[in-house]
Amino acid sequence: MNSILIKKGRVIDPSQGLDDILDVYISNDIIKQIAQNINRKASLIIEADHLIVAPGLIDMHTHLREPGREDEETIYSGTRAAAAGGFTSICCMPNTRPICDSRTNIKYIHSRNLELGVVNIYPIASITVGQVGEEIVEFGDLVDAGAIAFSDDGLPVMNAEIMRRALEYTSMFDVPILDHCEDRNLASEGVMHSGYIQSLLGLPGIPGAAESTQVARDVELVEFFGGRLHICHISIGASVHLIRRAKKRGVNITCEVTPHHLTLIDALVKETNFDTNTKVKPPLVSEENRQELLRGLQDGTIDVIATDHAPHTAKDKDKEYVDAPFGLIGMETAVPVILTDIVHTGVISVNQMIEKMATNPARILRLDKGTLKIGTTADVTLLDPDKRHTIKSTAFYSLSRNTPFEGKKCKGAVDTTIVGGNVIYSKGKIVSDEER
């Protein structure tokens, strides 16, 4: 019988208000006991006196690129990158080739993951057929097949009537619509945040209003027509204000932010002399906007930290700034970056971090995850909050290297990732199938 005893770790589980030095006993794939000084035999004992024992982290916004762009990422590489980043569950966006808009696509992802993956994948299907913003997908059939949410991420639904119908219709199934808020006319050909730095560099700008006007629209749509709405990767102070006010009125709305928007600003485009690893949507914004994101994170306006892991090959990124694709990878840097720049600096506590990276994603997606409750599947992430290291993209399990955090000195790392009672990642390495 496969069993794990994690000794004397600081067990933090916001889902049951737990924060104490405790032992955790896992048998088969289930969390069996959490108590002080558990005296049981186990096939593996982990001494965790310097570690934080958290529910397995959930990344509710990733791009796995399979099927279609297996040179950028695959289910094999992406799930290993996830495990190395402490994520035991990830939600993949539908903008693959073909677009994930039918039962077949969901089934394909599930079967590939069963064969090759090492973490749980919860696919997100598109809102409209082919993500072209015209015809809604078969939401009911997709939910039945395993779609956890719906999003036209990257090519947001501009037509408010279609978004209205999607919200109304999906309310039957209690699944969220995840909206990448960007007015495509305002954003136009823009490649970086409009403002002082952008004006100096002469790059085409994306005004902050491209995001906030869509957030305002979405708030109104949910308020009028119902449904559940989650706003992806907010980046603008105005969006934080709109969502804060909407939540106070009781509007059914949640939102996420990425580690890069919390820690980097538009000035980096200039400082790096137009490094295309600073090119992302939404773009890196001004320091004033970043400060509003930090406030939103603190007061709970922002529910979730998600990576928007978006792999691109060096060939595609090694281009003129305007021609390079948008997107950064983030699964293997999220925990170190958040611990270093957001937790150790006192913006939020490590408990809040776990809430935003495990508890809240599970709540929003109605997953029986993100918790260490007795009897649940043993998805556990051990964090080493004081470990000092330097981010090196050559060590990534992701197939891509497009990170803006190369060479960053960090305090805090993922120590061990346990998925379904199996140690998948430990001390810098994915555990091979034979060892498992």
Binding site: S199, G202, F274, D318, E320, Y321, D323
Partner: protein
Amino acid sequence: MIFQHKHLLTLEELSREEIELILENAKGFKEIFTRSIKKVPTLRGKTVVNLFYENSTRTRTSFEIAAKRLSADVINFSVSTSSVQKGESLLDTVHTIEALGSDFIVMRHSCPGAPQLLARRIKSAVINAGDGPHEHPTQGLLDAFTIKEMKGGFEGLNVVILGDITHSRVARSNIWALTKLGAKITIAGPSTLLPKSFARLGVRICTDLREAIRDADVINLLRIQLERQRKNLFPSIREYTLLYGLTEERLKWAKKDVLIMHPGPINRGVEISPEVADGKHSVILRQVTNGVAVRMAVLYLLSGGEEA
């Protein structure tokens, strides 16, 4: 003083002293133009490659003449007939050019930052001949040279840059050079074409032409491009000319000895009336001549300033 830069990418990154050094050297090179043999052996055996991803006959020709007067070999790499048309990337193209033996690559490109990408990756000296709306350093230098030649200096001068500032590399390079040299800058034009955040550079922003050019010592006009109108940045060329077209009548609002400059090519009857373009205040053709001297100075200083 030695010029420390390997490339000329922006005027933002140059100090006042470095800009003055280039202008001083340009003055020396301009004297050569009056000789019967307008050529010096400074860059003999060096190869200058003009790599223009956007058409610009005047800038390319100016660099070509500048390099030839320094005895360099000049290759004009024509993008429209090259492998770029077959989908070759910028870096692959440039690596090929370098393998052929270039010492300088003079590049015009529509994307801001494209010269920075080259400078990171190749051994040749890179001269930015305009990167999208970002910078056009040699234009900023030749404008500064022309102002100095005509006005003697920069302290306290009121320079107005009039037109589409948002999309203008000339405006940005002029702002950097002239503010470093001590001039006071006003940017003027329709509100949709003025970056408001430029106020942080100490630049005055003005949408009223009369207000903008009152007390102007220099008015630098920018070419207004029709494609901007298509994006609704202003309603029509007609309205632009009504509000901002510089006529002899309106020129009276400025100082009596105001200089009229334009990087060309000019739109006669749009941003500038023919009378003003050809009038006594205009130094537009002088700018063209000075461009050669300034580009000679830049090539010379980037080569290490040897064999002067």
